[in-house]
Symmetry: none
Subunit: 205 residues, 4 copies
């Protein structure tokens, strides 16, 4: 899989040419898919994606042989962003605040990219090998924040990362009601208050 050396070892002349446009097309499809899944929901047709990307449907299939593969590719980067954010918050905010901010960031994501809700739902309940990876990554992200808060003595220890993640995602699934975003943020605060070990500082809005 990896050449490993800087010198051409194989006779595969394929390595040279076909890069530029192939990569551009792949990128275009990803962009289009994000937009289309956001706007039209997860059920959007792949033809619509291809059309928006300005490529043939066949090209889409070359890059992403199944619908799942495309979906995976689309939200993998989102998952990575959230994961990275968790790492950053670990060192940039107090334990409980870091947790709160990360949870809210998720809400933001769903608010701006409707497709994310489905993506997260799949990540948390899907059975495919691909989604398992994403679930693990997100669990690790929230688990790290949670563990730090527990270690600091701020948060009770009997709640698992999985449960918290699942709750978060569930809360975001019903994002079609007016005012859902404010409601979810409010409930996250309530939840965090419930998590606190003692004297839950009632935060003022």
């Amino acid at each position: 899989m990896n050449d490993g050396s800087g010198m051409p070892v194989k006779t595969e002349e394929r390595l040279r040419k076909p890069r530029a446009d192939a990569i551009r097309n792949r990128e275009r499809v990803l962009e289009a898919a994000k937009a289309v899944f956001s706007a039209g929901g997860v059920e959007a047709s792949l033809e619509a994606v291809a059309r928006r990307a300005g490529v043939g449907i066949g090209t889409l299939y070359r890059h992403f042989p199944t619908r799942e593969a495309l979906f995976e590719a689309v939200y993998r980067r989102e998952v990575e962003q959230l994961s990275d954010l968790a790492a950053r918050l670990q060192s940039e905010a107090a334990p409980v605040e870091a947790l709160r901010l990360w949870l809210r960031a998720n809400v933001e994501f769903v608010a701006t990219k409707k497709g994310m809700a489905a993506a997260l739902a799949i990540a948390t309940s899907g059975t495919s090998e691909l989604t398992i990876f994403s679930f693990a990554r997100l669990t690790k992200a929230v688990g790290g924040l949670l563990a730090r808060a527990v270690a600091a003595g701020d948060v009770r220890a009997d709640v698992s990362a999985e449960d918290l993640l699942r709750t978060l995602v569930g809360m975001c699934l019903l994002h079609d009601q007016p005012g859902w975003q404010a409601g979810v943020v409010r409930m996250l605060d309530v939840l965090i208050d419930g998590l606190r070990v003692s004297a839950p500082t009632r935060r003022k809005k």
Copy 2:
């Protein structure tokens, strides 16, 4: 044909036509719909419902001329049961406990009748007039319990019934993971702790 009494009973209010099979079929379709909506989500095919119910697709359409009508019929009874339970709990348990029990009852419902999750989701996010009614009814149920707890000074006043209901439903939506039920019950306790005005009594498992 004969009412068994020996005397002709001609009063037209007598069942003009028995329809043993019609009733049975209607029931079967409802059962099937509950199961299928549970497994396949709200978008499940009506043909699948008919197939599972063991009736022709035409029969399904006769009883429920629109998809909406079927939904409505499926979840109306569940919604009513939950609504009735809330009324009963109002007078049979202490405010916070009543709230907790009702929330848990919802989880039970979803656990035993998978269809409920979809039903609740529809009730909380549907846009049809029918679902609006159901949403209102559930909101009223939880709102009553919430208001009582607030009035008793046990629970903070800045959380709306809508938000609480939506959170509950969201938490139940991902019910395919192993151990989801225990996790949700745990998170509900956390949530209630967060709702308490003071000294959250940490409940022991």
Copy 3:
């Protein structure tokens, strides 16, 4: 089939009871069918007919076991009216005028009962045994008028009743254009002028 006498001859007790409502229902269905076929075209659903008649679909089928049978029954009386009219015109108008009036009467029929066009079309092109009878009857009607005019020396002899009937019906089939009725009447006059043996008296409107 016919009792023939005024005294009960058969032990078939069925002869007494079931008349009144059965006949009424048959009549109602016929009326409804005429209305529905007129309004909704020939493709109208039989359920719609039954609904309009206020009877069950089963009842409709009891009286008219096939769609064809119903259709036949509906337009048979219309055909009979046209046939009777031809007989009357034979003795009440001059040969050519009688022909003209009868042709126009057909147009009137179609104008007031849209279904008639289809009925006539079926009568002239249908292959079922039932329609053959109607075709024969109408052919005889127009044939009588035509023969009389030929015998009087007013009309050429090389046009068959079938051709004339078919032409008439065809002209009426396109009855959806605005002004079709006046147009058809005008063309019928032209046709009659063409039929005349000599000096076609140009009729003034």
Copy 4:
């Protein structure tokens, strides 16, 4: 991939993609549609058309996204041929003869391509913008011939092109009876005799 000349031809106006099969399929669908619409009327099922054409239903829809589009494609060429013929006859035959020949050509068309009857019927009674165009074209065709005959003093002036066209089409609609074609030709002659201003030359068969 290579134009065979040995030199790269990059001009984009070159056929970007040959689609031998696509063209063949389109043609097949058109043929099938003509046949099926003829046999089963305008309401014939598109699935039947696809079946007869030997292509998948999806292919039919790709080429003709709506039923209307298929109609349009089917009869446009026929209408054009008839229109062109009218233009040619204007200069190649005496006024009345030109009219007669054109009317007969229509009969021929229907006789050889049964689909034409439906096509003409649609053209004369359809309400879509497409059919209006076709109706206008045919009206213009017959109108030109008619006007020339009127100008020559051969034909009465009080018959409109629309009426004449509609009559012609109606006459051809019932083309399932044996001997219909001879009958229609005969009636067309009668009609033309009726149209003549004076001394209708009785044509011998």
